[in-house]
């Protein structure tokens, strides 16, 4: 228990991922929904770095690095979209967004 192995990190990562999933599923505020997607990516990063550490291999860190880059880019685009929506509708409520269905 006291010996922190890879599994600890993986479990942690999974728990964080699950929290992210919860957020994604329950958030109706789009901005806060995007927070949840950040949690998803971050949780994976923890695991990547841990694996990388335990293998003594840098690939995992590389992946984590790119994930961070991707997350950042997504924020930019996501916010851009939100701004657009907000300008028209003056809300960022997800439930207002169902004109197309069926």
């Amino acid at each position: 228990m006291m010996e922190i192995g890879l599994n600890h990190y993986l479990v942690l990562s999974t728990i964080l991922f699950a929290i992210g999933l919860v957020g994604i599923m329950r958030r109706k505020n789009l901005l806060m929904l995007f927070f949840a997607t950040e949690i998803l990516l971050n949780s994976v990063n923890v695991a990547f770095v841990a694996i990388s550490h335990f293998y003594g291999d840098l690939t995992g860190q590389m992946f984590a690095f790119f994930v961070i880059a991707i997350a950042a880019s997504e924020v930019a685009v996501g916010l851009g979209l939100l701004i657009l929506w907000h300008k028209r509708h003056n809300n960022i409520d997800l439930d207002s967004m169902s004109t197309m269905k069926g």
């Binding site: 990190y9 991922f17 806060m32 880019s73 409520d93």
Partner: protein, 183 residues
């Protein structure tokens, strides 16, 4: 021993922060908690010896991303409560619990297999230097593509948030557009 204490501490903190992020009804709390969570995560990176990544994490997330979100929040005026009407709580809780439990269950088993050889082993030099080495050899192409991606994100952000989007040519008739052009 220190590692274990640190791990559990930060694990608890991260989980708590992220939990707040996804559950609080106050956007500001959520944002703050998220930022805190990000920083705590970078702690793991430092623990695991990925100093460079830890730094990047702090800079990118706590710096850039959070700033962006903060801007956004101000713009959207989301300090007010957002009614989170939950259609079916059970679905949310159920699905995520099952997902977590399933994966956790699986990870309780030992995972590392024997025949793995590190392709890019951690060397003697500092973490940052090694990362630079790998990044600019092996991962040169992804790195450049990531640059393009950021460029794309930038252009997107500019285009989408730009003023030009306020008036939609798509929704205007040809006469209206021409009139405007002539002006």
């Amino acid at each position: 021993m220190f590692e274990a204490i640190a791990f559990y501490l930060f694990a608890f903190l991260t989980i708590a922060m992220f939990y707040i992020t996804v559950t609080t009804s106050q956007a500001l709390y959520a944002l703050t908690a998220l930022a805190a969570g990000m920083i705590f995560i970078s702690a793991f990176f430092f623990i695991l010896g990925a100093d460079f990544l830890g730094a990047v994490q702090i800079v990118v997330y706590s710096g850039a991303v959070m700033a962006l979100y903060a801007f956004g929040m101000m713009f959207f005026d989301t300090t007010r409560d957002v009614k989170e009407k939950q259609g079916n709580k059970y679905v949310v809780v159920g699905l995520s619990t099952i997902a977590a439990v399933l994966v956790v269950l699986i990870f309780m088993a030992p995972i590392i297999s024997e025949n793995i050889t590190a392709i890019y082993p951690v060397g003697d030099g500092g973490n940052t230097q090694e990362i630079g080495m790998v990044l600019f050899t092996k991962y040169l192409v992804p790195f450049e593509v990531a640059a393009v991606m950021l460029l794309v994100a930038m252009i997107s952000g500019i285009v989408l948030a730009g003023k030009k989007m306020d008036e939609s040519l798509t929704l205007q008739s040809e006469e209206e557009i021409n009139e405007k052009d002539n002006k």
